[in-house]
């Protein structure tokens, strides 16, 4: 085949929401393919395409080979779906994937994915394209591994492959990415790096590494960007690191800040000084503040002095005005209450220094990554620590974010207990860091964002989401937990407190705050149960639990108060009845009617058609939870003298109050709404 056409696709970030620009790993593969074959190569970054509003389908034009990056396990479902679309549009093209996940789990990929590249992609991809040229198809799905011994063998990153994105880049992203090395020979138990097979540290020559950064700067003009050196381990070798830092300090790029990840035990004060000159900032995988737990994690190195070193580095960072970040993993297998308490005490010492801190603390849950040492030695870890993984393989399900974290750390600490301890021990620290973050230099906003995001992660909305997911997946895995869960009730109430800002009477507000709406929604919606929006109660969506403010509008229109008697028509799961009962108190009464038998049972109300007015004749206050073309005359007739009905009527629907007076029916409209329709007349 002459000049085969190759397309490399970056599927885009799902959880980080994009924000990074560059896909340097694909550019490196593109360079290797072009250097050894006659192929033309295009690169697509779906994060940027999304911002441009372009459809992938429209761009799948006559390619002979399509590579789709499966960088992490969170990409897996996307990659499979993209491959399906590619196959549909390009039935004859070869489809290949690679990346961390593909390297860890090549057997996860079946048709329509033809080939899986394990480990470094440059050489295997170049070989695959040359086979395409010669018309020879590999026999095995898993391509032979061919690590890159010296990254300098590959051509420079050809940023011009991304030239089409330049006008859009700044709208889609704020950080550029580049790789200067690959590999990390350390053996941290949780880390996915080992999936890439060749873990030896291999870097570009320091001078070329600096030149690559400047080439990117010339292409993009980094002056309004941060730059992330996305290496698994920056500058492992002291000589390389010093040479690189000195060179970059002499000739820095224009980026607002250069961010990198490095091991704490590698750097010294001179590194910090040079980083300050080169406008760089380091992130450290600290993992824990408990030495015994660090040993369990296999944070190899000089563990005796490791934690003291971090204190020292924090001091240097303050003196050199270098911002930094450090993360810990909460709930790592083997974690105990004692290890968490020891770690929290250390973090207080590290981050809550009265002089302020230049660092942000990232508290990360343990996630079981395929290809990590723990995954490879799972039985041993389970036996030794009591670790329990609740959902595996989690990347094949929705809710990956929760499921990857749904692990009991030890016999002593299950998932829920770990999170309770996290709330008690670490949440106060990240909140305090927000007030103590002292770095005042360039790109303070970039680091402050990390500080603020940590606080956002411990906000009631996020905590309720996490607990909601737990309840959902307990149910889905045939082990349902009662919704009468004190922690769930507390957190949901905290979230409602934030939400209940719309105008309503104090009595109704108190009822909305107190009634556990999370008990009246499907397991799928526990996470969103405190939000002010309607949630479906049935698969067909014809029954819903209304938004919080909808109940407030209706009950306040009826002037519902203590001692009242209320009839609710269309009670759904019974939430409105419960709220009304809280409003009317023990001296009042609330009767609900629901036409769907399952819902009536759930709500513990009468299963009946609301149109049977004999059931509620003589009622004084009636709230209707579904939309009508008009309120039937029979309903008005059934009301007690002076009685009131509030109902959504007409099209478009208007929430309307009907009052039965001696002079006739007085109507007042309360605003446009949209309710589910009357099932009886549907």
């Amino acid at each position: 085949m002459d000049r085969p056409r190759v397309l490399l696709i970056w599927p885009g970030a799902l959880y980080g929401g994009g924000g990074n620009f560059g896909v340097p790993q694909l550019l490196s593969i593109a360079g290797a393919i072009r250097a050894s074959t006659s192929a033309t190569v295009d690169v697509i970054d779906l994060d940027i395409e999304r911002v441009m509003g372009r459809s992938l389908r429209d761009q799948l034009d006559a390619y002979d080979l399509v590579g789709i990056s499966c960088y992490s396990s969170y990409d897996y479902l996307k990659v499979v779906e993209i491959a399906r679309i590619v196959r549909e549009k390009l039935p004859k093209a070869w489809i290949v994937t690679g990346g961390y996940h593909a390297s860890a789990r090549p057997s996860d990929f079946e048709d329509p994915i033809d080939f899986v590249c394990v480990g470094d992609g440059e050489r295997p991809m170049a070989r695959l394209v040359s086979m395409l040229e010669s018309g020879k198809r590999p026999l095995l799905r898993e391509l032979p591994q061919e690590p890159t011994p010296h990254p300098d063998e590959h051509p420079p990153y050809d940023w011009e492959l991304l030239a089409k994105y330049k006008p859009f880049a700044r709208r889609a992203a704020s950080q550029a990415e580049i790789y200067l090395s690959r590999g990390c020979p350390y053996d941290c138990a949780f880390c996915m790096e080992r999936a890439k097979r060749d873990t030896s540290w291999r870097a570009l020559d320091p001078e070329r590494a600096i030149e690559e950064m400047h080439r990117l700067d010339r292409f993009l003009d980094l002056s309004s960007w941060t730059l992330f050196i996305a290496d698994a381990l920056f500058g492992m070798k002291d000589k390389w690191r010093k040479q690189f830092l000195e060179g970059l300090a002499r000739k820095p790029v224009r980026a607002r800040k250069v961010w990198l990840l490095i091991r704490l035990d590698l750097i010294d004060r001179e590194d910090l000084r040079l980083m300050a000159k080169a406008n760089m900032a380091p992130g450290f995988g600290l993992e824990s503040g408990d030495p015994a737990h660090l040993r369990r994690i296999r944070k190899a190195g000089k563990l005796d002095s490791y934690l003291d070193k971090m204190l020292e580095v924090a001091q240097w960072a303050r003196e050199e005005n270098v911002p930094f970040g450090a993360n810990i993993i909460v709930g790592h297998p083997g974690e105990t209450e004692q290890s968490m308490r020891t770690s929290a005490a250390y973090m207080r010492k590290l981050f809550l220094d009265p002089r302020g801190t230049n660092g942000f603390l990232s508290v990360d849950p343990f996630r079981l990554y395929p290809g990590s040492p723990i995954e490879q030695e799972r039985e041993t870890w389970e036996r030794d620590t009591g670790m329990k993984v609740h959902r595996w393989p989690w990347w094949m399900d929705g809710d990956q974010e929760f499921l990857s974290e749904w692990v009991d750390a030890s016999r002593e600490l299950d998932y829920r207990k770990t999170n309770q301890l996290r709330r008690e021990l670490f949440d106060p620290i990240v909140k305090e860091v927000q007030g103590r973050f002292a770095y005042q230099g360039v790109a303070r906003d970039y680091f402050m964002r990390a500080v603020d995001e940590q606080v956002e992660l411990v906000a009631p909305r996020r905590m309720l989401h996490q607990l909601g997911m737990w309840h959902l997946w307990k149910e889905l895995t045939d082990d349902p937990a009662p919704r009468t869960d004190p922690e769930l009730a507390e957190i949901a109430r905290m979230r409602r407190e934030e939400i209940l800002t719309f105008p309503c009477s104090e009595r109704v507000r108190a009822a909305l705050l107190e009634v556990p709406r999370e008990s009246f929604v499907r397991a799928e919606d526990v996470a969103d149960s405190a939000e002010d929006r309607a949630l479906a109660l049935t698969d067909d969506g014809k029954s819903t639990i209304s938004a919080l403010h909808a109940y407030a509008m209706a009950f306040d229109a009826l002037e519902l108060s203590e001692g009242d008697d209320l009839v609710e028509l269309g009670s759904g799961s019974g939430y409105g009845v419960a709220v009304a009962r809280a409003v009317v108190g023990p001296n009042g009464s609330v009767r609900g009617f629901e036409i769907v038998p399952e819902l009536a049972k759930w709500a513990n109300v009468t299963c009946a058609d609301a149109h049977d007015v004999s059931l509620w004749r003589g009622a004084k206050k009636v709230s209707v939870g579904f939309a009508l073309e008009a309120v039937p005359d029979a309903w008005i007739e059934a009301l007690a003298p002076g009685g009131k009905i509030v109902a959504p009527v007409g099209s478009p629907q208007t929430l309307t109050l009907f009052e039965k007076t001696e002079a006739g029916v007085r109507t007042s409209t309360l605003g446009e709404v949209r309710y589910v329709r009357d099932r009886a007349s549907a």
């Binding site: 509003g53 992490s72 889609a172 992330f228 990840l261 819903t544």
Partner: protein
């Protein structure tokens, strides 16, 4: 595990795939009819929320905008148009430094 539970698990997966891919891989679709029982701000907006009689109602995935005083966030992301190349959407949330390589 019951068939119903299996169906619910598959629905979760489908939801994730749709969330990840719809905007990027498929031309922008007409939003599904929404069955929110929420107040809506103005008569002119009401038409967008109406379900066509020939479309089966589905549980709401597209959140409609609540009234300004309702205190609820608008969860609906802006829908890119197929021909929107010349007019890009506003910038995504700027990133922060990340210490984890695999969750991004």
């Amino acid at each position: 595990m019951s068939e119903e539970t299996k169906g619910r698990i598959l629905a979760r997966r489908a939801q994730l795939v749709a969330a990840a891919l719809t905007a990027a891989c498929e031309p922008a679709a007409k939003p599904a009819p929404c069955l929110e029982t929420i107040a809506i701000p103005a008569a002119s907006d009401a038409g967008e929320l109406e379900a066509s009689p020939d479309i089966a109602p589905v549980p709401c995935l597209e959140m409609t905008a609540p009234p300004p005083d309702a205190g609820a966030p608008d969860a609906s992301p802006p829908k890119p148009k197929p021909d929107a190349g010349a007019k890009p959407q506003p910038c995504l949330k700027p990133v922060s430094p990340n210490v984890c390589l695999y969750m991004r």
